[in-house]
Structure formats: structure tokens, C-alpha cells
């Protein structure tokens, strides 16, 4: 099986004492710029193509949130590059302002564990920026790793997966969509209440209310279960980037690993021509029905008046994956763990909640609610929900659960800290980070898929291949010309292999 490169982008929520949502873009720019950890602000926007659709066409314009447009009335927006305030870090990550949210895009990783660690390193980078911003302006700044403001505004945690171009839109859609609906049961972060479609006490997913269509190109409004953005950040003749926008921002690290691992399992089944066939006429409806059934099994409506459960859908992927006899130990571990969790949800709920955010949060809130005699519809429950996502070890409720030993053991902190400044896999992210660390004065622009250097009077652009593991020995050179030569040599050897 081919190793699948993947990354996670998280848009963080934040508040600044004495400031409002009207100031959010200005504050987010200043937030990102306050990051004390260095990096390079030379992102090349020519390679961004958010209006290309996997179905083979371009749209003229993307939908914009009408409420946000009201916030912008009477305010001049800065030029796009200035507004983005992009920073490429020495670990190969990208840190920037996206629509008024500090966004951390992890370096791309082949390994699930590496990606999980970089997601955690991202939390620390964002917190460092928040503290520096707070000190600079003399106001309290609070950061939330979450996806909603409970008033109908949502911001995403997106996943990216490298997929061969030979797969059609239809094949990719059919292979992945049932799993995206079903994985909420073992990956959702939970949410008190609803922001669409009538009241509910508690949901599995923070994003489900915002999944309104089966598939389309949009991300700011009319969000789909399956996003069709065709922006591969690699050779478009060879690669697609599957852009998943329906997932939640997990606090429990194993849930981050699981949500990505399950999609990788679906992609391996697609590669093998063995993806389970589930005909789901209205994926958005089934996504929401699953999310709203925190007490039951969930219901996924199928063609012909039939229905199934998220558990049956997940087990169909896991059974087929077992039949592949994969040698990928990380994915085998995700498959085993998911099976156990599906069983634990029914038979050992106190074990289940140690590994799944929605269940951990619901247990905590339910205990408090019963002790205080509150209804699930009491507004303070949403405040406690928000506090679960607060990135503050002294006040955040998730970190309170960690401290009390009520969720799984923490990842060793040193493993996370190391990744704030370095990528440990020798994929293209490592090469990008190394370039920023060693050759910053010679870099003119960077993007996910290439770096342009200034060498003498020339500009030299070198591609970074997404499926290549570069040789650390050959890149340990001191001159930029040797560095460029080493990348080119590795690329050439890979392309002829």
C-alpha cells in the first residue's frame, strides 16, 4: 500500500478583552504576527486555486457569509497577502490569518503519530502567539480549539489527503462519504444544543449543523459533507488533494489520529477497488441524524427506504481492510481501536468516554447538570461546552479531565515541543522547514509544492515532491546551490524509479 501524505488545518476561535467580532480580522492579523517563534513570510499565492472543482470546472465566485459581510461594512480590508499575514515555520508548518481566525496548518506527514504530534505542537504555537499578543496589547486573550460560536458561525478543522488523479470524482465520493458520516461516532467532539433544524440536547459533532449539501466546492456557506475543491498542491496531472471539511477539532490526541486513520483506510480500499458500497441519497441529512442521536445508534438513510447504522458502516470498512492483510501497523491499530470503541460504547461507556471527545464532554456536563439541577437547555451548559475547548491548562475543562485522569494518558510533552521547530519525517515538509532554517536570505517565495531561491542573478524554483522521502544525508549541505542540487537529484531519481 502506498503511504498517504496527510495534513490538518485548524482555525482557532479566540476572544480579546474589550474587543468584538467586528475587530476580529484586525485582531487575528495582529495575533499571528505576534508569534515570537520566527519563520518566513513569503508565501506564494499564485499556486492557490480554491475555485477549481474536482468535477472538472471552475466556479466564478465562492459563497460568502452574509453576516460576516455586515461586520465588514464601512471597513477597508487590507490587501490579501497583508491580511493573511502568512508565516512558514522551521517545522514546515504554515501559520496565518484565515477569515479572522488564526489558522495552523501542520506540516504534511505520512505517519499518523507524527501528524497527531504536529497537531498538538500547533496548539502550543497558537498559545505562544496568543500570549505574546496579549502582552503587547495589555488585554486578556483566550483561545479555543473548537468549531462554532453557538450563534450560527462555524470555522473549520480541515484534513488533506494525497490521492492519485486516476480516481474519478464519483469513485472518491462514493468511497469516502459513508465513512465521513459514520466516523462522528468515534471522532466527534460533541456540542450542546443546535444551530439549525430545531432543538436537540446534545450532538456528536460540532460541525453537523453546518453540513447542508452532499457535495460542492463551498467552505464558508452551504458547506458539504464532501468538498470538491481541486487544489492538489502537487502536480495536478498526478494528484488530487482530498479536502475534508466536515470533521471536528479534537482535543483527545488519539481521536485526531483515529479520524485521519479511518479516512486513510477508506482511501486504501479505494486504491484496491474494494471500498464498501453504501447508497446514501441525502448525506447531509444522514450526517445530521447521526450527530443528533447521541443516545442511540444513529441512522443512515439508504436508497429504497432502507437504513443502516454508523457502526455497521464503520465495520464494513474495517472488515474489508482486515481482508487486505495490510502491513501498515498504524492503520491496523486504528482499525482494532475503532472496533473496540464501537463495542465499548455499548458495554463499557466509562472506558469509551476516555478516548472520544463527545462522550468525555457529555459525561462531564451531565454530572454537573445533575448536581446543579439544570436542564440541558440551560444556557450555562453551552458555556461549559465552550470551556471544554479553552486552551488553558488552569481553566480549560478538557485539561481538567486530563489532570483528573478521566481521559487517556497525555502524550509526553517533550515529543510535542520538539515538533514546534522541526519536522521529523523526511518528506517535503522537512525540506521546506530546513530551507527556512538554513537558507532564509536566499528564499524568494514558498508554497506547499515548491520553493523559489535567489541564486546570483537568477530565480530558481525547485519542486518538492509529495510522495518522496528525501535523504537526510544529501540535504545536510551548507550552500544553497548544493541544497538545490540535492533536491533536484532526489526528485530526478524518484521520477525515473
Amino acid at each position: 500500500m502506498r503511504p498517504i501524505l496527510a495534513g490538518i488545518e485548524t482555525e482557532y476561535g479566540f476572544t480579546v478583552e474589550g474587543r468584538s467580532v467586528h475587530d476580529q480580522i484586525d485582531d487575528s492579523m495582529a495575533f499571528v504576527r505576534a508569534f515570537p517563534g520566527g519563520g518566513l513570510s513569503l508565501w506564494d499565492y499564485r499556486y492557490e486555486s480554491p475555485r477549481h472543482d474536482l468535477r472538472g470546472f471552475d466556479v466564478k465566485a465562492l459563497a460568502y457569509d452574509a453576516i460576516d459581510a455586515r461586520f465588514d461594512q464601512g471597513r477597508a480590508r487590507p490587501p490579501a497577502a497583508e491580511e493573511r499575514s502568512d508565516r512558514v515555520l522551521t517545522n514546515g508548518a504554515r501559520f496565518y490569518n484565515d477569515h479572522g481566525h488564526p489558522e495552523y496548518a501542520t506540516p504534511e506527514c505520512f505517519s499518523l503519530r507524527e501528524l497527531m504530534l504536529h497537531d498538538l505542537a500547533g496548539e502550543r504555537v497558537v498559545l505562544q502567539a496568543a500570549r505574546a499578543f496579549s502582552e503587547k496589547i495589555g488585554r486578556d486573550v483566550r483561545v479555543y480549539k473548537n468549531n462554532t460560536d453557538y450563534h450560527g458561525a462555524s470555522y473549520g478543522t480541515h484534513e488533506s489527503y494525497l490521492v492519485p488523479r486516476r480516481h474519478s470524482f464519483a469513485a472518491l465520493y462514493e468511497a469516502v462519504t459513508p465513512l465521513l458520516i459514520a466516523r462522528q461516532v468515534v471522532c466527534g467532539v460533541g456540542k450542546v444544543g443546535a444551530e439549525a433544524k430545531g432543538p436537540v440536547r446534545y450532538q456528536l459533532s460540532a460541525r453537523a449543523d453546518f453540513m447542508q449539501e452532499a457535495y460542492n466546492l463551498e467552505t464558508l456557506a452551504r458547506r458539504p459533507v464532501f468538498n470538491t475543491r481541486d487544489e492538489p498542491h502537487a502536480d495536478p496531472d498526478q494528484w488530487i488533494r482530498l479536502h475534508v471539511i466536515c470533521g471536528d477539532a479534537n482535543l483527545i490526541p488519539s481521536a485526531t489520529r483515529r479520524k485521519v486513520g479511518l479516512v486513510k483506510i477508506a482511501l486504501h480500499l479505494l486504491d484496491a477497488g474494494l471500498a464498501p458500497t453504501w447508497r446514501i441519497p441525502d448525506p447531509a441529512e444522514s450526517f445530521q441524524l447521526t450527530s443528533r442521536d447521541a443516545d442511540g445508534e444513529g441512522r443512515i438513510v439508504l436508497e429504497g427506504m432502507n437504513w443502516t447504522t454508523p457502526r455497521q458502516v464503520l465495520e464494513s470498512y474495517l472488515d474489508t481492510f482486515d481482508g487486505l492483510n495490510s502491513g501498515d501497523e498504524e492503520l491496523k491499530s486504528v482499525a482494532r481501536e475503532t472496533r473496540q470503541l464501537l463495542e465499548d460504547r455499548v458495554t463499557r461507556p466509562d472506558e469509551f468516554r476516555r478516548h472520544v471527545d463527545w462522550a468525555a464532554k457529555r459525561w462531564l456536563l451531565d454530572q454537573f447538570r445533575e448536581a446543579e439541577g439544570l436542564s440541558w437547555f440551560d444556557p450555562s451548559l453551552q458555556s461549559l461546552d465552550l470551556a471544554y475547548h479553552l486552551l488553558d491548562r488552569e481553566e480549560g475543562l478538557f485539561f481538567g479531565l486530563v489532570e483528573a485522569g478521566e481521559v487517556e494518558a497525555e502524550i509526553p510533552l517533550e515529543d510535542v515541543i520538539e515538533r514546534e521547530t522541526q519536522a521529523f519525517e523526511w518528506g517535503r515538509a522537512h525540506v521546506r522547514g530546513l530551507a527556512v532554517e538554513k537558507f532564509a536570505p536566499q528564499i524568494r517565495t514558498l508554497t506547499w509544492s515548491n520553493i523559489t531561491f535567489s541564486v546570483g542573478d537568477d530565480l530558481v524554483t525547485v519542486p518538492l515532491l509529495p510522495d518522496l522521502r528525501y535523504d537526510p544525508a544529501s540535504l545536510g549541505v551548507e550552500s544553497v546551490t548544493d541544497f538545490i542540487a540535492a533536491i533536484r537529484s532526489a526528485n530526478a531519481a524518484h521520477e525515473t524509479s
Binding site: E11, I67, G193, E195, P199, F368, S383, E395, E403, A404
Partner: protein, 60 residues
């Protein structure tokens, strides 16, 4: 559809039984683990109106 006014939900006056919104299965008759006092204190320190005041721009 997402409301243009972005209203937070209110408790229904006459809640109907819906999928996932009913009483659910009855609780097993066992002793449940309880939230440690330190964590309960942390929860009591949360401003009950925090979510009401929390407004964000839509992201992607």
C-alpha cells in the same frame, strides 16, 4: 437552513419525541464515577453567560 439571525436555540415549549431527543435507554443501576471536586470547582468558575457573549466570524 442556518438562520440568518444566528439565533441560539431555545427549549421547546412542547417537546416532541424525536430520534435522539427522547428519554433514551434507562440508566443501568450501577455506581457511576463522579467528577472530582477540583474539576467541579473549575466548572463553577465558568461564566454562565460566556457562550452567550462568544461571537465569531464564520471561517471555512
Amino acid at each position: 437552513m442556518i438562520s440568518a439571525d444566528r439565533q441560539t436555540q431555545r427549549e421547546p415549549e412542547s417537546p416532541e419525541r424525536k430520534l435522539g431527543d427522547g428519554d433514551g435507554p434507562s440508566k443501568p443501576d450501577i455506581t457511576r464515577p463522579t467528577v472530582p471536586n477540583e474539576l467541579l470547582k473549575r466548572m463553577k468558575n465558568v461564566d454562565p453567560d460566556q457562550a452567550k457573549k462568544y461571537r465569531q466570524r464564520s471561517g471555512q
